[in-house]
Amino acid sequence: MKKSPILITLALVVFAIFPLVVKDQYYMHIAILILYYALVSQAWNILSGYSGQFSFGHAAFFGTGAYTSSILFTKLGMSPWIGLIIGAVIAAVIGLFIGYLSFRFKLRGVFFSLGTLAFAEILRIIIQNFDVFNKTLGVLIPYKPDPLMFQFSSRTTYYYIILIFAIAVTALVYYISRSKLGYNLVAIRENEDAAQSLGVNTYKNKMIAIAISASLTAIGGTFYAQYMLFIEPATTFSNDVSINILLPAIIGGAGTVLGPIVGSLIIIPIGELTTTWFGNFVGVNLMAYGVILILVMLYLPEGIVGWFQNKFGKKKSAKKNKDSSISGGEEVGTLKN
């Protein structure tokens, strides 16, 4: 990914001074939403974008992070900062468990996606049925700002925290994309069997990816809990959450470093706009997301950043090249069989 350092620095500066320029709490909230979706989507990207194992159940990790820190805080008074780390670890373990069951048993493609969906649902049902998690009532975090307890009176502080998290995770993804792990993951995505025969330990690499992805998603979950101060199974473990996590990456470009951020920058404001214009109707934003998803899949299947990279640069991807000037070759009505 060759993006000029000047543009990056410029973007960072804009993000950094944003709260100094914009004081409106509503816009601050949107900015926080954008960044926190960028974070979790970026985390998803590590597993699904780079290794091509599309998870439809990342809510499992998100909810784990949210509930771990919240339960530890409300029942044991443990600081959510520590809860954040514990949540990340637990999520990583759950991720490894799911990974073990999936990868050892060679779940690929659609089967893997549906499998992750099932795992997320299993967790949701468990949470909904046991008192220790307050079942469907959810967990309420008392409003008592205290930096040591990961609670702040000023939105601006939340903004900077999530900004730092988002930048850190993006930097991590950038680093991974250029590392051996990254190359291995892409090889697995392009052709897992070929990668295996070339000596790549596909199992180990996928496990590393899912563990990292899970723990980072959980961090997003803890942040969400501490920002919203209320969590319940429907907002942390549900299918909708999994969909919201993967949308920015898909639209922005799965498997690219900037994809989740670009995707987030586009769909969150659209979601908010539709809710504002059509506020009395529930679900307008999701419908808008659906339309965008369909359009992107039809016309920009590589996502926005992916499309840019194909047009103006090189990308390590076996995109079906539609450039058919000499040879035609558009397979008519035939499928992959």
Binding site: F105, F111, L114, I125, N129, V282, L286, G290, G333
Partner: protein, 289 residues
């Protein structure tokens, strides 16, 4: 205790017929187009609403509005296939899944906007709700739904086996290029298959209107169970879809009888995970991708 088990078995089998019907639609679409239709539940929901509104505004019995919902959804399905899915036939499989997810989001949320999230239900008067057979209560609407589902499955089976169009559909799902070279218009087969799949979902929706709550989010329950049944029975396997439906219906009912709260839903997913690991091609063998 025995009565409880028997009652659960009966309830489970009856409901299982409906799951099977949803799964048959999914498996038909997958067989022909190799696409997993995430929107199948949403299409079922549309079928429900057609029957619901027919009942409320036109006083038509939900069972009588089945042809209406079936035909409407056939055309909606064909439209979706022609405008969107036909362009995705050669796309990577996760993109195909995502596009049907997008379609589901649009349909479900459009319904939410138009009809609000309120749960509605249909009350049929002058109708014996429950039959008592040897101490077991058999819910009549459920029984009707089950019988209809079985009859429909048999009809579909015969259609595929005996008619030229049915054979062409099977041929397309076995070997697309071979079908093309035999003069079969596979594009038309695609939208017929998708339209049929959508119809089946709609019919299932109409059948459950008398005993299930009508709401825009109804589809979500059925789609997840539908996936489980399809994988259990084998992708592309019709008989497997029915039997898978019965298995899921029964295990869910037994779970509901013996497990507290909503833990019964766990049964379905745990079976799913086990099948995915042990026999991803389904109990009866189906197509892997």
């Amino acid at each position: 205790m025995l009565t409880l088990i028997l009652q659960s078995l009966v309830d489970g089998i009856l409901m299982g017929g409906i799951y099977g019907l949803v799964a048959i639609g999914l498996t038909l679409i997958f067989g022909v187009m190799k696409i997993i239709n995430f929107a199948q539940g949403a299409l079922l929901m549309l079928g429900m609403y057609i029957s619901y509104w027919s009942f409320i505004y036109l006083g038509i019995n939900p069972y009588l509005s089945i042809p209406l919902s079936a035909i409407s959804l056939f055309f909606i399905g064909a439209l979706i296939q022609k405008t969107i899915l036909s362009k995705m036939l050669n796309a990577p499989e996760h993109n195909q899944l995502l596009v049907t997810l997008g379609i589901m989001l649009v349909i479900e949320n459009l319904a939410l906007i138009l009809w609000s999230p309120d749960f509605r239900s249909v009350k049929l008067d002058g109708f014996i709700q429950t039959l008592n057979i040897g101490g077991i209560g058999v819910n009549v609407p459920k029984l009707i739904a089950f019988i209809a589902a079985i009859v429909l499955s048999i009809a579909l089976f015969l259609f595929l086996k005996k008619t030229m169009l049915g054979k062409a559909i099977r041929a397309t799902s076995i070997n697309r290029n071979g079908a093309l070279l035999s003069g079969i218009n596979t594009n038309r087969i695609n939208y017929i298959a998708f339209g049929l799949g959508a119809s089946l979902a709609a019919i299932a929706g109409s059948l459950i209107t008398p005993f299930f709550y009508t709401s825009p989010t109804v589809g979500a329950t059925f789609i997840l169970k539908g996936f489980v049944v399809v994988v259990l029975g084998g992708l592309g396997n019709f008989i497997g879809a029915i039997i898978g439906g019965l298995i899921i219906g029964v295990s869910e009912a037994l779970g509901g009888a013996f497990l507290p709260g909503s833990l019964k839903e766990l049964m379905t997913y745990i079976i799913f995970v086990i099948v995915l690991m042990a026999k991803p091609n389904g109990l009866f063998g189906g197509k892997a991708r």
